[in-house]
C-alpha cells in the first residue's frame, strides 16, 4: 500500500474534473485520479452544444435561459443555482474559446449558435438559437480543449486509478473528508490519497440500463463511494431518457439534428410531435419527446415489423448541411445501421442518457451531509453531483454548461479550502474496506457471474423504471434488485491476477450499480406524482403540494447489519418563478 499526500484530489478526468483541475492546480498541489485516460471520458460523446445567452445571432439573455432551465426541470430546479448557471454560461463559453476551443463561427467570425430543445425566446414564445457548438462533436472539443489546457498547466494525472472508497472522519459530530482510497489497475496495488479536499467529478450511472447512450465505464463509482459512507443521494429517481438513441443500440443522435430541422415521424410518416407540443414541436423538452415517442409506439404507430421504434427524418435537409453540421451522427447511421441519412430516415428509440440526481451540493460545489450541513473538504461537480440545476429533467446543452460552470467553481472552492486547512488524520487502517472488498472478490469461489447479474439488472431497469412507471413496475424492480444484491454476494471472478484485472473491476462496478439502482427504484416508488423524467402512470399529474421537494436517500445499517434506505426530503429553492403548468 502506498500513501500519497496532495492538497486537492480530483476524482475523474472528464469535463468537470479537468475544468476543476485547471483552477485547483494554479492554487494548490493537485492530483487527478481517473479510471481511464483523461481524453476517454464520456464528456467526449456529447454532441450538440453548450448553452449560453451570448445573443450572437438573435436577441437572448440569461434570464430567459434561467426560466427555460427551471421550466425544463419541471420546477424542481433550485432557482438560485439555475440563475448562476445561466449567468456564468456566457463567461464559461468565452473562457473555452480563449483556451482554444474551435467553435463553429458566424459569417462575422463570432461564435455561432443553434436551436436546441426547450430553449426559447421570452419564456416560451419560440425556439431560440442559444447552443454554441462545434459541429456535432462539441463534447469532444471541450474534452480535448480542457485536456490541452491541463497539459499547459502541468496538471498531474494518475491514469487508470479506480477510487473505491471515500475516507470520512467525524470530528465533534461533523463528517469531514480525509481523502480517498484507490486501486491501481496496472498493478493491483492499493493507494491511499490523503487530501485536504476531494472533488468528485466521476460522471453518471447510466450502465444500470441496457439501452443507454452511456459508456461501459459509467457505473456511478463516486455516488456509491459517498453513499456507502453515510452521505445522502439526491433525486436519484430522476433519470433522463434521450429521445433519439439509435434503435436497440442506444447510441446518441444529437438533439442538434432536430435543431437543424430534423423531424420525428411515425410509421404513417406523420410529424407526431405537432400533437404533443404545438409550439416547440420536435424541440420540446426531452422528457416530453420521449414520452410522445413511446405513446406512438404503444398506440400502434411505431415503425418496423415489431413497431418498436420511430424515425428521425433528415432526408429533407441538404446533404451539405448534414456534412457540415452533423457529420458524426450521420456516420454513426452509416456505420452501425447501414443507412444513408441523405435518403433514408433513421430508426430511433429513447435511450437512457443522464442522471439528474446525484451527490447533493450547494452552489460552491460543497457536498451536503443532510439538508443543510456541509461536509468540510468534500466537493462534487458534473453529472455525479446534484446542485440542483437540472431538477426533474435537464435541458439539452445544459450538461456541458454544468461541468464548466460548476467544475470551475468547485475547483476554486476546493483549492481555497485546501489553502486554509490542514490535513486530517487518516482513520486507522484507511484502506481496510477496499482491501477486504478486493480480496473477497478475488478469492470468492461463488457460482454467480458478473455479466449475468448485470444483464438481469439492466433488463429489469429497462422494463420497469424507464419512461413509464407504475407502483407495480417499480415494486417489481425493487424486488428484483434485492434478489440480485443477494446473488451478488456469491459472485466470483475468473481473473485472480493483479495486473490489469478488469474482470475484478467489473465486479466492483456491478456492486456500485446495484446499490444505486436500489436507491433509484426506492426513491421512485415513494414519489407518487409525475414530474419531468419521472412519469407515474398511476399518478399522471405533478403534485406541488406533496412533492415540490427533493428526495434525499440515506443508507442505514442496523445493529444486526441489516441495510435499508431511509428517505427524507429537502425543500426546493424558489426565487423569482412560481410553478406553472408546463406546456411546449
Amino acid at each position: 500500500m502506498q500513501i500519497h499526500k496532495y492538497d486537492t484530489v480530483i476524482v475523474g478526468a472528464g469535463g468537470a474534473g479537468m475544468r476543476a483541475a485547471i483552477e485547483s492546480t494554479k492554487r494548490s498541489r493537485t492530483a487527478v485520479l481517473t479510471k481511464l485516460y483523461p481524453t476517454r471520458s464520456h464528456t467526449g460523446a456529447a454532441q450538440g452544444g453548450m448553452a449560453a445567452a451570448l445573443a450572437n445571432v438573435e436577441e437572448d439573455n440569461w434570464e430567459w435561459h434561467t426560466f427555460d432551465t427551471i421550466k425544463g426541470g419541471d420546477y424542481l430546479v433550485d432557482q438560485d443555482a439555475a440563475e448562476i448557471l445561466a449567468k456564468e454560461a456566457i463567461d464559461a463559453v468565452l473562457d473555452l474559446e480563449k483556451m482554444g476551443l474551435p467553435f463553429g463561427r458566424t459569417p462575422e467570425g463570432k461564435i455561432d449558435q443553434r436551436r436546441f430543445g426547450g430553449h426559447s425566446r421570452n419564456h416560451g414564445e419560440a425556439p431560440v438559437r442559444r447552443a454554441c457548438y462545434s459541429g456535432d462533436r462539441t463534447g469532444h472539443m471541450i474534452l480535448q480543449t480542457l485536456y490541452q489546457n491541463c497539459v499547459k498547466e502541468g496538471v498531474e494525472f494518475f491514469n487508470e486509478f479506480y477510487v473505491l472508497d471515500q475516507l470520512v472522519v467525524e470530528e465533534d459530530g461533523v463528517k469531514k473528508s480525509a481523502g480517498v482510497v484507490a486501486y491501481e489497475l496496472a498493478t493491483g496495488e492499493i493507494h491511499v490519497f490523503q487530501a485536504k479536499s476531494v472533488i468528485y467529478a466521476s460522471g453518471g450511472t447510466g450502465k444500470f440500463f441496457k439501452v443507454t447512450s452511456n459508456a461501459h465505464t459509467l457505473t456511478g463509482d463516486g455516488q456509491a463511494a459517498c453513499y456507502r459512507r453515510g452521505l445522502p443521494l439526491e433525486d436519484m429517481e430522476f433519470f433522463q431518457f434521450h429521445p433519439t438513441g439509435i434503435w436497440r443500440m442506444g447510441i446518441l443522435l444529437t438533439e442538434g439534428a432536430r435543431g437543424e430541422g430534423g423531424i420525428l415521424r411515425n410509421k404513417d410518416g406523420e410529424r407526431f410531435m405537432e400533437k404533443y407540443a404545438p409550439v416547440m414541436k420536435d424541440l420540446a423538452s426531452r422528457d416530453v419527446v420521449s414520452r410522445s415517442i413511446y405513446t406512438e409506439i404503444r398506440e400502434g404507430r411505431g415503425c418496423g415489423p415489431e413497431g418498436d421504434h420511430v424515425y428521425l427524418d433528415l432526408t429533407h435537409l441538404p446533404p451539405e448541411q448534414l456534412d457540415a453540421k452533423l457529420p458524426d451522427i450521420t456516420e454513426f447511421a452509416r456505420t452501425y445501421l447501414g443507412i444513408e441519412p441523405y435518403t433514408d430516415p433513421i430508426p430511433i428509440q429513447p435511450t437512457a442518457h443522464y442522471a439528474m440526481g446525484g451527490i447533493p451540493t450547494n452552489v460552491e460545489g460543497e457536498v451536503l451531509a443532510d439538508n443543510t450541513t456541509v461536509v468540510p473538504g468534500l466537493y462534487a461537480a458534473g453529472e455525479v453531483a446534484c446542485v440542483s440545476v437540472h431538477g426533474a429533467n435537464r435541458l439539452g446543452t445544459n450538461s456541458l454548461l454544468d461541468i464548466n460552470v460548476f467544475g470551475r467553481r468547485s475547483g476554486i472552492a476546493a483549492a481555497e479550502y485546501s489553502s486554509k486547512n490542514d490535513f486530517l488524520e487518516l482513520p486507522e487502517n484507511p484502506a481496510q474496506m477496499v482491501i477486504d472488498q478486493v480480496e473477497r472478490l478475488r478469492n470468492s469461489t461463488g457460482t454467480e457471474r458478473v455479466s449475468a447479474i448485470r444483464l438481469e439488472l439492466q433488463e429489469c431497469m429497462d422494463a420497469n423504471v424507464m419512461v413509464f412507471r407504475t407502483e407495480q413496475t417499480i415494486k417489481t424492480a425493487v424486488d428484483k434488485i434485492a434478489e440480485l444484491r443477494k446473488r451478488y454476494l456469491d459472485v466470483s471472478v475468473q481473473d485472480k491476477g493483479r495486473r490489469f484485472n478488469t474482470d475484478l473491476l467489473e465486479a466492483i462496478e456491478l456492486g456500485n450499480l446495484l446499490d444505486l439502482a436500489e436507491v433509484m427504484a426506492t426513491s421512485a416508488l415513494a414519489r407518487k406524482e409525475s414530474r419531468g423524467g419521472h412519469y407515474r402512470e398511476d399518478y399522471p399529474n405533478r403534485d406541488d403540494v406533496n412533492f415540490m421537494r427533493h428526495t434525499m436517500a440515506y443508507r442505514e445499517v442496523a445493529d444486526d447489519g441489516t441495510e435499508s434506505i431511509r428517505l427524507d426530503y429537502k425543500p426546493v429553492v424558489q426565487t423569482r418563478y412560481q410553478p406553472m403548468e408546463r406546456k411546449y
Binding site: 476517454r40 482554444g100 463570432k110 489546457n149 454513426f332 456505420t335 490489469f500 478488469t502
Partner: protein
C-alpha cells in the same frame, strides 16, 4: 465453466430449434494473448462464439470475456468510436473494435485480433500508452497567444475555422501512430498523431506558437522521418487525412507560411 482452449470446436453451443432463422453465425476469434504473470511468451488463442454479424468486434470481445474467459483484457469505454480506448490490430489492420462490424471482416475465416504495434504490450490487448501521450505533450498541444485577451471571443472567419477542421477530429486512439513503419522501428519518432495535433494549432488563425511547434517538428525525430506510406490515413477511424496533414506541416517548414 468452459476453459478456453486452442481446440476450436468444443465451445460452440448446440444449434437450437429454429436456428436457421437466427441472425447468429459461428465465428472464430484468434486473439494474441500475453500475461507476464502467467508466461513470458505471447500466444494465439482461438475462441469460437455464436454472434450476430451486425454486432461490433467489441461485442464479440465482451461476449468472450463475459461468458468464456474473464481474464481476456482490453480497454474500452464509449463503444461508438469517440473515446479512443479500443484501437487494436484486427485482421492485420489498425481499427477501433467498437467501429468494426463483424460482417465487414469475412467471418468465414478466423478473425485475428492483437495489440497495436510499436508500444509495449502490458497484457493481452493493453499497451503502454505513456510514450504516445508524451509525444503528444511534446508538440505543445494548446493555444499559444500573445498580449491581452479580448473581452469577448476572438474572431475567426468560417474559412479560417475550416482550415484546421480535419485535425480537430483526433481522438488520440493511436491507431495512426501504431500503424506507422517508421514508428515501429524508432519509438523516438513523434508519430502521426502528435503531428496531427501540432497541425491543429499551427493552422489555427488564432494561434501564435506555430514557429515554436515547427522547430520542434524540424527535429531529427520530427516530420522528416515520415515516408508517406499512408498507413496512418488508412488506419484513422475518424477519417482524418493524416498524411496530408503531415505534408502540410512539411511544406510549412519549407515555406514558413501557414
Amino acid at each position: 465453466m468452459a476453459t478456453p482452449t486452442l481446440e476450436k470446436a468444443d465451445m460452440a453451443p448446440e444449434p437450437e430449434a429454429g436456428f436457421a432463422d437466427s441472425p447468429y453465425i459461428t465465428a472464430t476469434f484468434r486473439i494474441r494473448r500475453f500475461n507476464p504473470e502467467v508466461s513470458d511468451e505471447a500466444q494465439w488463442q482461438d475462441f469460437q462464439i455464436e454472434i450476430d454479424p451486425k454486432e461490433r468486434v467489441l461485442d464479440a470481445l465482451h461476449k468472450i470475456k463475459w461468458e468464456t474467459d474473464g481474464t481476456l483484457t482490453f480497454r474500452r469505454s464509449c463503444a461508438h468510436g469517440i473515446c479512443g480506448s479500443d484501437a487494436m490490430r484486427i485482421n492485420g489492420k489498425n481499427r477501433l473494435a467498437c467501429k468494426t462490424l463483424i460482417k465487414d471482416l469475412n467471418p468465414e475465416k478466423p478473425i485475428t485480433i492483437e495489440a497495436i504495434k510499436g508500444l509495449t504490450v502490458l497484457k493481452d490487448l493493453v499497451v503502454d500508452m505513456d510514450p504516445f501521450f508524451q509525444a503528444y505533450r511534446d508538440v505543445m498541444p494548446f493555444l499559444i497567444t500573445k498580449g491581452n485577451e479580448p473581452t469577448r471571443e476572438r474572431l475567426q472567419s468560417p474559412e479560417d475555422r475550416e482550415r484546421f477542421d480535419d485535425t480537430t477530429k483526433c481522438i488520440l486512439c493511436a491507431a495512426c501512430t501504431s500503424s506507422c513503419p517508421v514508428f515501429w522501428n524508432d519509438g523516438q519518432y513523434f508519430g502521426p498523431a502528435a503531428i496531427v495535433n501540432a497541425h491543429r494549432f499551427i493552422f489555427d488563425s488564432r494561434d501564435e506558437g506555430g514557429e515554436q511547434r515547427l522547430e520542434i517538428l524540424n527535429d531529427r525525430d520530427g516530420v522528416w522521418r515520415c515516408r508517406t506510406t499512408f498507413n496512418c490515413t488508412d488506419a484513422c477511424p475518424r477519417g482524418i487525412e493524416v498524411t496530408k496533414a503531415i505534408q502540410e506541416v512539411k511544406r510549412a517548414l519549407i515555406t514558413r507560411r501557414f
